[in-house]
Amino acid sequence: MNLSLLIIIPTIFSLLLLFVNGLKQVRTVSLIAAVLQFAISIFLTIQYFTEKTANKAAFLFEQNYQWFKTPNINYHVGVDGVSVAMIALTAFVILAGVLVSWKMEKLNKEFFFLLLFLSIGAYGFFISLDLFTMFFFLEVAVIPKFILIGIWGSGRKEFSAMKLILMLMAGSALIFVGLAGLYFNTSGNGSFDMLKIASDNISPELQRLFFPFVFIGFGIFTALFPFHTWVPDGHSSAPTAASMFLAGISMKLGGYGCLRAATYMMPEGAAFYSDAIIILACIGILYGAFATMMQTDLKYINAYSSVSHNGFVLLGIGLLTKTAITGAVLQMISHGLMTALFFAVIGMIYDRTHTREVVKMSGLLKITPFISSAFVIVGLVSLGLPGFSGFVAEMTVFMGGWQKGSMFYYVATIVACASIVVTAVYILRVIGSVIMGPLKVKGEKQVVYADATWYEKSSIVLLMAGILVVGILPFAVLRLIS
């Protein structure tokens, strides 16, 4: 399996987009691209399973080409189970994102172009084994967001776009400092190669010095408290597909980076800061949940709940046990699918009601049963109902936390557990007022909306299928990522 396909396909198709005109052609080309990516990711997963039984190497399908000779930068790619899972996640979200944007009128060519461009960044990031290549793709995945929010966004879009980009850039700067630190401290001539850095055993002092740079840098991407404030503004202003990408994949770039570039490269550093990470993660989890409780805008609700849910990713990483890290990875997958679905459904509701204020609508189940049921189900995923992915992930983190076996970890786990109650409160409040109750939208009692169209339905079904696979067959997913 040639991993570079993951980059080549979206590149070719995004270039192809430049030569077609009109919404119909544009979206057909994009859909083909998304479906192809999806097929490749599924094929990759299957290939990985078959190959893994024979090949015990840490990374499969490696490719290594020299990129810049002098600073020793290589295009070095390869995957392990975690990256395969992330690639599959990306493919799911991109396909669903293309589907929900089916009726995008405004500057559709540019929109889909940027969407595909984002996917190049995400795939490249997940397959990189060279820290510089990884960083390069990270930036590829950041820049288009600025334009997506600034042009297609809503509300205070310029402000949000600026804020998002500045905070993410600050994160990138921190990451780069940390990566440079690693580069200059490898044995020999300096290298960005992850395998080499990991085997080099950089001295604990240096690890302690550089770990915070990389971790906080990626942490900003994944809403590490107190650097999460770009999340609510950024998400709420972004157009639906961009929100889906932002929360579904972009935040996972952060989690994956925290794990791969920070924790695996600098285990001693991670151990040193473990307690601090746990404390910040727990604050994020509980405080994010409480803050969600008070929101009245659907997108803000999901954005703040993302802060809370991503806290589990950071908590799992901070706990540093095998179980907890597995839980963190599961949570990344779960949250990626769930939040993308949530934003998709919120977008569908907004398209119909033209409001996202919780108090301005109620009883939607009466007229739009499909969308409303999807909303209820995704709410239940969010509050960690068994049978869905969130439950599996959260429980794995809790179990990993408790098994560390000392008072500090007990308290941390209990704090994290307490969020399941708060989550139930805010989710059921929203469902209770938006979906249930007597029908009323902006004071109007006689409203008629069309239920989901085929493309909306297929994006919902697609993401739901992903959630159910993780939720019902976790042992299969676990075989992949452990």
């Binding site: 804020k163 500045l166 905070m167 408290f225 107190p226 650097f227 999460h228 404030t229 770009w230 405080y287 409480f290 803050a291 409780m293 008070m294 929101q295 703040y304 095998k322 179980t323 009883g363 189940l365 009466k366 049963p369 239940l380 509050l383 109902l385 068994p386 049978g387 439950f391 599996v392 429980m395 794995t396 809790f398 179990m399 990993g400 408790w402 098994q403 076996g405 786990t413 209990i414 557990c417 307490a418 399941i420 109650v421 139930a424 409160v425 059921l428 409040r429 209770g432 979906i435 249930m436 109750g437 007597p438 029908l439 976790p474 042992f475 676990l478």
Partner: protein, 642 residues
């Protein structure tokens, strides 16, 4: 284990019903959904009965002990070596018994709903939710693993949520469904932490293994769990108490009971199934499942005893004052579950001392029949009177003779009048508590008298008291509503004669049930007295109830207002959680955390404005910075850092 493969289908059939009707029901089966559901449940019930027959009479009993059989098991999610969630089917006397109870009551409710929910717009959805509930509840009772139980526990909770909120356009139903889920979720938090503790010390999540590890006094796990302590209480006690908290939430034990009366907003057949016969006894079942651990750990068993006893009395008092017939039944359910709970609390682990355990399970069994009958009967009444309030009823015996008779049977059963089912099970509970302490026995006896009173208050108010003069024309329901009532009435009358100790006992060894005639005289007399008082007060319209209420004064008012528990909860959630935690968090986030981020941005902007003059384009200036910088570096490296 051979011969028990069919148990898989017991679970699977309701799941099919859920998925099929949930996905396609609205479009294709909106009319036939009920029949599909009933058909699948009929198969499930038949399999459960066959399973019980196989287990109890054919091959479950080996050398005088009922086996624990793992009919099915696979590892679903591994956390760490030894600790994993297994999906399994564990057959032992209580789970086999519960399979019968759950599937048969569910079947009755499925049939009853054919008539009751007829013409409902979301008919198929309703049946699919019933299927989900039945699947989850069956999964709960056969769980072989603590975490598996927790999962089904949550699924049961969500199906309860969906069904309470079934009439989703009614704001009160929405509020009730939220309340039910959140209160039980809060309790489940305790359950979850308890599980984490037990798993940590027990080294496993498997019921049998945990019990084995933590009940052997010499085992290292037991020592670890009893030496570690927090606030002077051992870890084991903490774990068991927290697990019990989950059970108390689901079983509506004080003070986590506030959701149950409101849950009556759901369709009445649902109340019969979920909030009377099956889900609410899950807490009792949980304690019974882990009973060897509770029994060895005196402190946590003491809590079970006291909470159960208090709830039994507390709920019975409130039940005497309510006027909504479903709420009376809800409080009566709470009270009866309190009976089951404290019966476990007074039980020992061996032979005769384990009477409380048998009695508790027996009462659970009989209660399921008569309480679901009461609810379905009440449902039939409500269906035609269109009201839940007692004042809108009265004199219905002439209009609904069948409902009247079956309701009477159920009332006699719950009041403990021989030879109806409740008599036998309650008798055993009283005997067990008598053996334990006089104090427990006295409260149990008083509660039992109160039960008879409030049930007959209900009965007389609905069927006697006055001539019916409402606007609607009450009548008997269709065949589908009558059949379940008749079947359940027969069960309520007869199941008491089952020699329950032969099948279910604390050490899985069949026991003879001794019947103490002398002992049963006092409770029966009390029951009859309760009925007579109700007869005097409510058979004919008179002013005795009012004067009685006056006599009790403020105590009556407090009881009528459910001892202000709802107000207390409202105060805590609204004023404390929302006002003092939620709002400040949101404010803090926007103003302080985000504010400081924005300030940093502003500061950067200001700084760059301030220093942009440096980039002046003048060579001399640049040269000055350049040499100044070099000078600085030289000083830095040569003198300071060396």
């Amino acid at each position: 284990m051979g011969g028990y493969e069919h148990t898989f289908w017991i679970l699977f059939l309701p799941a099919i019903s859920f998925v099929l009707l949930g996905l396609l029901g609205r479009k294709y089966f909106n009319k036939s959904a009920g029949l599909i559901g009933v058909f699948l449940l009929l198969l499930t019930t038949a399999l459960s009965l066959y399973n019980a027959y196989q287990y109890f009479f054919v091959n479950g009993l080996v050398d005088g002990v009922y086996l624990k059989i793992d009919a099915f098991k696979f590892t679903w999610l591994t956390f760490s070596p030894g600790v994993s969630i297994d999906m399994g089917i564990l057959l032992d006397p209580i789970s086999v018994m519960m399979l019968v109870v759950v599937s048969s009551v569910s079947l009755m409710v499925h049939i009853f709903s054919l008539g009751y929910m007829k013409g409902e717009e979301r008919f198929a959805t309703y049946y699919s939710f019933l299927g989900l509930f039945t699947f989850a509840m069956l999964g709960l009772v056969v769980s072989s693993n603590l975490f598996q139980m927790y999962m089904f526990w949550e699924l049961v909770g969500i199906s309860s949520y969906l069904l309470i909120g079934f009439y989703f356009q009614r704001p009160s139903a929405v509020a009730a469904s939220k309340k039910a889920f959140i209160v039980t979720r809060f309790a489940d938090l305790g359950f979850l932490i308890g599980i984490l503790m037990l798993a940590f010390y027990g080294g496993s999540l498997d019921f049998n293994t945990i019990i084995q590890h933590l009940s052997a006094h010499q085992s290292s796990e037991y020592l670890a769990a009893t030496t570690a302590s927090f606030l002077g209480v051992t870890a084991l006690t903490w774990g068991l108490t927290l697990v019990f908290m989950g059970g108390a939430g689901k079983s509506a034990m004080f003070p986590l009971h506030v959701w149950l009366p409101d849950a009556m907003e759901g369709p009445t057949p649902v109340s019969a199934l979920i909030h009377a016969a099956t889900m609410v006894v899950a807490g009792v079942y949980l304690v019974a499942r882990l009973f060897p651990l509770y029994a060895l750990n005196g402190a946590s068993l003491e809590i079970v005893l006291n909470v159960g006893l208090f709830t039994a009395l507390f709920a019975a008092i409130i039940a005497c004052t309510q006027t909504d017939i479903k709420r009376v039944l809800a409080y009566s359910t709470m009270s009866q579950i309190g009976f089951m709970m404290f019966a476990l609390g007074v039980s020992g682990t061996q032979g005769e001392q384990g009477l409380g355990y048998t009695a508790s399970m027996f009462h659970l069994f009989t209660h399921a029949f008569f309480k679901s009958l009461l609810f379905l009967g009440a449902g039939a009444v409500i269906h035609f009177v269109h009201s839940n309030e007692m004042k809108d009823m009265g004199g219905l015996r002439k209009w609904m003779p069948l409902t009247h008779v079956v309701f009477l049977v159920a009332c006699l059963a719950i009041a403990g009048i021989p030879p109806f089912a409740g008599f036998f099970s309650k008798e055993e509970i009283l005997l067990a508590s008598y053996n334990k302490s006089l104090w427990v026995y006295t409260i149990a006896l008083i509660t039992s008298g109160l039960t008879a009173f409030y049930m007959f208050r209900l009965y007389f108010s609905i069927f006697w008291r006055k001539e019916y003069n409402g606007h609607s024309h009450p009548q008997e329901g269709s065949m589908s509503m009558k059949i379940p009532l008749i079947i359940l009435a027969i069960c309520s009358a007869l199941v008491g004669f089952i020699p329950f100790g032969k099948f279910v006992s604390v050490d899985s060894q069949p026991q003879e049930t001794h019947f103490h005639l002398m002992f049963s005289i006092l409770p029966v007399i009390l029951g009859v007295v309760g009925i007579l008082i109700a007869l005097l007060m409510y058979k004919k319209e008179n002013d005795r109830p009012q004067s009685m209420a006056k006599a009790f004064g403020s105590f009556y008012r407090a009881a009528k207002n459910k001892f202000y528990m709802d107000e207390l909860y409202l105060f805590v959630t609204k004023n404390i959680i929302f006002k003092w935690v939620g709002r400040p968090s949101a404010w803090f986030d926007r103003k302080v955390v985000d504010g400081s981020m924005n300030e940093i941005a502003n500061l950067t902007l200001e700084t760059s404005k301030a220093i942009k003059g440096m980039q002046s384009g003048k060579i001399q200036r640049y040269a000055m910075y350049f040499f100044g910088g070099i000078a600085f570096l030289i000083i830095l490296f040569v003198y300071i850092l060396k």
